[in-house]
């Protein structure tokens, strides 16, 4: 398999360059952002919800891709964190569906998987990719950066 040469520093810098003035902490910048987690593993669900709650986010769960779409329409989450290996509609297909739906495409998609599928996740329209296992610092930081990025992207239009 080809060596994956991500240049994370660049992508992360790009994010912070856009938003030099923003504080990424959810408590004051994002309030209680809503996160929809699409995950089957009970242990990951438990730990994910615990760490995200601790970080100040509101977490809801879906057990499969179709359930996630239904909930996304009702819940309007800020971020969907999805495993690739979920039933009915896999995580990558979920990304494509969300990103091609005008009502949902503003939702940030974070693929969080046991599979190393960075490039496929990118092709499917994911905004970020994280590999399991769960490391709370990486997860929470990534979520915060994504929220900051999202605000920065939507801000000019709203403010003007």
């Amino acid at each position: 398999m080809a060596q994956v040469n991500t240049s994370p520093d660049n992508s992360l810098r790009a994010v912070s360059d856009l938003t030099p003035q923003l504080d990424p902490s959810p408590s004051n910048a994002e309030g209680s952002a809503i996160i929809l987690v699409v995950e089957r593993d009970p242990h990951i669900r438990e730990l994910e919800s615990y760490f995200l709650n601790e970080a100040g986010f509101t977490v809801d769960f879906a057990a499969d891709g179709l359930d996630a779409l239904t909930r996304a329409r009702a819940l309007r989450p800020d971020i969907i964190i999805t495993e690739v290996l979920v039933p009915k509609l896999d995580g990558l297909a979920l990304c494509r569906t969300v990103k091609s739906d005008p009502d949902l495409q503003h939702i940030v998609m974070l693929v969080f998987s046991i599979l190393a599928v960075q490039s496929r996740a990118r092709e499917a329209g994911a905004d970020a990719f994280l590999m399991k296992p769960l490391a709370e610092k990486r997860l929470v930081e990534t979520v915060r950066q994504l929220l900051v990025m999202r605000r920065a992207m939507s801000q000019p239009g709203e403010d003007a």
Binding site: L12, H43, I44, L47, A128, M131, P133, L134, R138
Partner: protein
């Protein structure tokens, strides 16, 4: 897109996984770089085999950063005992305790609540302390608390689920036996299984480490000897022959044996990089011949290693002086004496020491006097032969001309024939020393075999006089 460069890079690096060091370079070498990160590993072995020390050595070497390493004792050994014992080791650092390394005793909780106490503890530890490493000692003992097979399955499934979900590397220690591997469910979820064992030999014990499983990675198979020192486990990875069969450069270069008259019957001298086995009864002149071979090397400015199990350094220096050499001078000029008492002899450590010495590439001549002493110390003669074979291949590859001596009780015949023959097969040249049957008190020499060279086959007289040995 924000990408997970940390995990991504780790997932694609050459080794396949990122690794956690054992804190022991040899163990890391055996494991192909260490234990895989985010894995469940079993360290198994009977009490007293060194599991706890191995785990603690790993902990203290990895005790840095803001995430703690947790060591939890269950039912077999109280935590206080484990902690008080670890203080004796060099790697112990009391400054790490309570911060980077946290010991905890779950014995009481487990006795009251059963196996679920460990699951609860682990879940809570993950949530509140973000552990980088968790050691559970003994994990096997928890099985005794399970009330049913279902209970056990649920417990293992929960523990394995939590450990797999979270970014943590776990070590489950236990007094497991080989039979347990088939029946205990933790072995199915384990990414690595390492066994530590102790085998009794008449006056001492030999310890071995063996990797039974290492998911997704190559490792060094077989038993690797170790001993427990103040520094922790001192390991001697099993020597294996060079991966590629050495192109046997049939060297035409010859070097002098250093024994007058011997080069003539050897067709002009020993071929560079060849191995010569010198077989003979006590007093037949093996050590004299081997020492002269070594001193000849020094005279010609060649680095020479003399490994000896019989004569202590003082005796050997005397023997050098008897051959007209100045012991201090020849040592300065490049003769290295490596002495190991047969009593303390642990073959693996000697083999590793020889191998380390020749790896430098400067040694041109080597003597092992006598390989029979190695054989006597070996608990497993097949293993010894594999070792010597590997060593000889390495010598040949590096152009080290080697002489091995072998004491033969009844001459090169009789009961020890099979044993001796195995040595002779791996040698290029075979020289046989004996007492003359015709002239009392006279010695004889005969070149029985010389690979890749013509040689004389006659029995010749071998004289040891004031100036050393010579062939008449």
């Amino acid at each position: 897109m924000i990408e997970d460069h940390l995990a991504g890079a780790a997932a694609y690096n050459d080794a396949g996984f990122s690794r956690i060091t054992t804190g022991n370079p040899q163990a890391d070498e055996i494991l192909g770089g260490g234990f895989p990160c985010n894995s469940i590993n079993i360290l198994m072995g009977q009490p007293g085999t060194g599991k706890t020390i191995f785990a603690e050595q790993l902990l203290f070497h990895n005790a840095k950063g803001d995430r703690p390493l947790l060591y939890v004792t269950t039912l077999s050994e109280p935590m206080t005992k484990v902690v008080s014992y670890v203080q004796r080791f060099d790697f112990f650092d009391s400054g790490r305790l309570g911060k980077e390394i946290q010991y905890e005793d779950l014995g009481a909780a487990l006795s009251e609540q059963g196996p679920a106490a460990l699951t609860d503890w682990l879940r809570d530890a993950i949530k509140t302390r973000s552990p980088k490493v968790v050691v559970i000692d003994s994990f096997r003992a928890i099985h005794d608390l399970a009330v049913s097979t279902d209970d056990t399955r649920r417990f293992i499934s929960n523990i394995a689920g939590l450990l797999s979900a979270y970014d943590v590397t776990a070590f489950l220690l236990g007094e497991y036996t080989q039979d347990d591997i088939r029946t205990f469910p933790e072995f199915a979820v384990a990414d690595a299984i390492v066994e530590l064992a102790r085998q009794s030999r008449s006056s001492r014990d030999e310890r071995f480490m063996r990797v039974l499983k290492l998911r997704g990675s190559a490792y060094r198979e077989g038993q690797h000897a170790f001993r427990i020192t103040a520094g922790g486990l001192e390991l001697y990875p099993r020597l294996v022959a060079p991966r590629e069969p050495e192109k046997y450069v049939s060297s035409v270069d010859r070097i002098s044996s250093g024994v007058r008259g011997l080069d003539d019957i050897l067709g002009g001298g020993l071929l560079t990089g060849s191995t010569t086995l010198v077989v003979g009864m006590t007093g037949a002149g093996k050590t004299t011949l081997a020492l002269q071979f070594a001193l000849e090397g020094v005279k010609r400015g060649e680095q020479t290693l003399y490994v000896n199990f019989q004569e202590n350094p003082a005796q050997l220096r005397r023997a050098i002086a008897n051959l007209g050499g100045d012991p201090a001078a020849v040592q300065r000029q490049g003769l290295r004496l490596l002495y190991a008492s047969p009593v303390e002899l642990q073959i693996d450590s000697i083999v590793v020491e020889i191998f380390e010495a020749i790896k430098s590439g400067t040694i041109k001549r080597l003597v092992i006097d006598a390989v029979g002493d190695l054989a006597a110390a070996a608990s497993d003669s097949q293993r010894l032969h594999d070792y010597l074979y590997s060593l000889i291949q390495h010598f040949a590859a590096r152009g080290v001309t080697t002489m091995l001596t072998l004491e033969s009780g009844e001459g090169f015949t009789g009961s020890s024939l099979a044993h001796d023959q195995r040595f002779s097969y791996m040698s290029d040249n075979l020289i046989y020393l004996a007492w003359s049957t015709e002239k009392v008190g006279h010695r004889t020499i005969r070149v029985v075999k010389m690979r890749g060279s013509a040689h004389e086959r006659d029995i010749r007289e071998f004289e040891i006089g004031a100036k050393g040995a010579r062939v008449l």
